[in-house]
Symmetry: none
Subunit: 132 residues, 4 copies
Amino acid sequence: MINPETARKVIAAAEKKAAEIGQPMNIAVVDAGAKLVAHVRMDGAWTGCIDISINKAFTLYALDIATKDLAQHSQSGGQFYGIHATNHGRIMVFAAGISVKEGGKVVGAIGVSGRSGVQDHEVAEAGAAAIH
Amino acid sequence: MINPETARKVIAAAEKKAAEIGQPMNIAVVDAGAKLVAHVRMDGAWTGCIDISINKAFTLYALDIATKDLAQHSQSGGQFYGIHATNHGRIMVFAAGISVKEGGKVVGAIGVSGRSGVQDHEVAEAGAAAIH
Amino acid sequence: MINPETARKVIAAAEKKAAEIGQPMNIAVVDAGAKLVAHVRMDGAWTGCIDISINKAFTLYALDIATKDLAQHSQSGGQFYGIHATNHGRIMVFAAGISVKEGGKVVGAIGVSGRSGVQDHEVAEAGAAAIH
Amino acid sequence: MINPETARKVIAAAEKKAAEIGQPMNIAVVDAGAKLVAHVRMDGAWTGCIDISINKAFTLYALDIATKDLAQHSQSGGQFYGIHATNHGRIMVFAAGISVKEGGKVVGAIGVSGRSGVQDHEVAEAGAAAIH
């Protein structure tokens, strides 16, 4: 179960990684119902990424697929092309929305948005790793 | 300036009050641009209040009036009746969205949503008081 | 025809009145198609009123009724109760959205949002009067 | 700080350039909170570009990247493909949303929408140059 305590651990680990990389980020954690548990916008992070971080986490749980994998199927010509416009525009089709697991079981998701897709994904993984 | 550090102090104080009251709540803090800085949903708090807490904080800053005061003018027959449907449905017309001040200057806002309006407002005030 | 020149005259007259009253306001002018021609947010005016001012002007033209008159029919129990939620939430049911006329013919509308309904309406009238 | 006075200077310079090019345009200026300060639709400009001009300015500030650069990363196959559907559809991924600076510091943004991307961008640059 993702509770605020767990969410904060995940966020703290993600913030630590973002600081190492030197890029301020938005970090969001949702629970098993794809509902927001906690969010933080680091100092200097872009405001346009608030929505993106929350919805990356939402996407993972809503569709049970890492957003970076969903990206492969949703480009022009792909089998899910256009899916980003569904669910009131909340489906994100670029990295970094990934699952958060406890004891091998998916209990929620983390979404990160800040700079490049590679950096965002790395930060999301650092966050998720905090409670494995 | 509201930064993540300040926002967490505000949220921690609000959580403490909510725990005293014995009601789990959603607590959100926005900065001077009405943009989310941090949010937490306490264990057991309703998911429908995520949106409400964030938008209470948004409302305070967007209109510079405590949502509980706006409530008085936006009932049926009031001069601002219907205002709750503006700004893409983000204007909240019930307690508890209030300003967060530093050195007498409004630097952001806190929005709380959990149980009764009186309880929510009390928690918002406890949060805002943390950085006065 | 409302063109940018006309719209600016209307806005300038409205700004003058708002300055006299001592309340900064958002002022918007739409043309005969209910489309925005020009908008200004005066220094210190609330950002939540951007949307409201534009949509007050939209409402006047979309429904051809001053928003303050529409208010009377859209309260709880009224014949148009609920209309504020139509048109994607763009229908405003409080003062001050009024028509702009040239030679007795409606050519557009002005919407004002700042403080009280009475003050907003007064500013809207001053604006509309500029090109009568 | 972008105030109405500054915004008008920016818009006037942009209009002058648009007139030289011979293409009527929508021009919008937002402040540091990505909130609209002023907008004008030149005589004959397309109404569908009202929304686009405002949101180009919004995008620049929300993500701190010129919309023409964001365009490169958000095509099919790019690392940010799909980003145009985030933030409630307000992210614009084509030229011309650019920053407005005073004394080397970004204080807001201008968004222009009228004809070709090259023309729009040229007009945006003329506007931003007005207060450098």
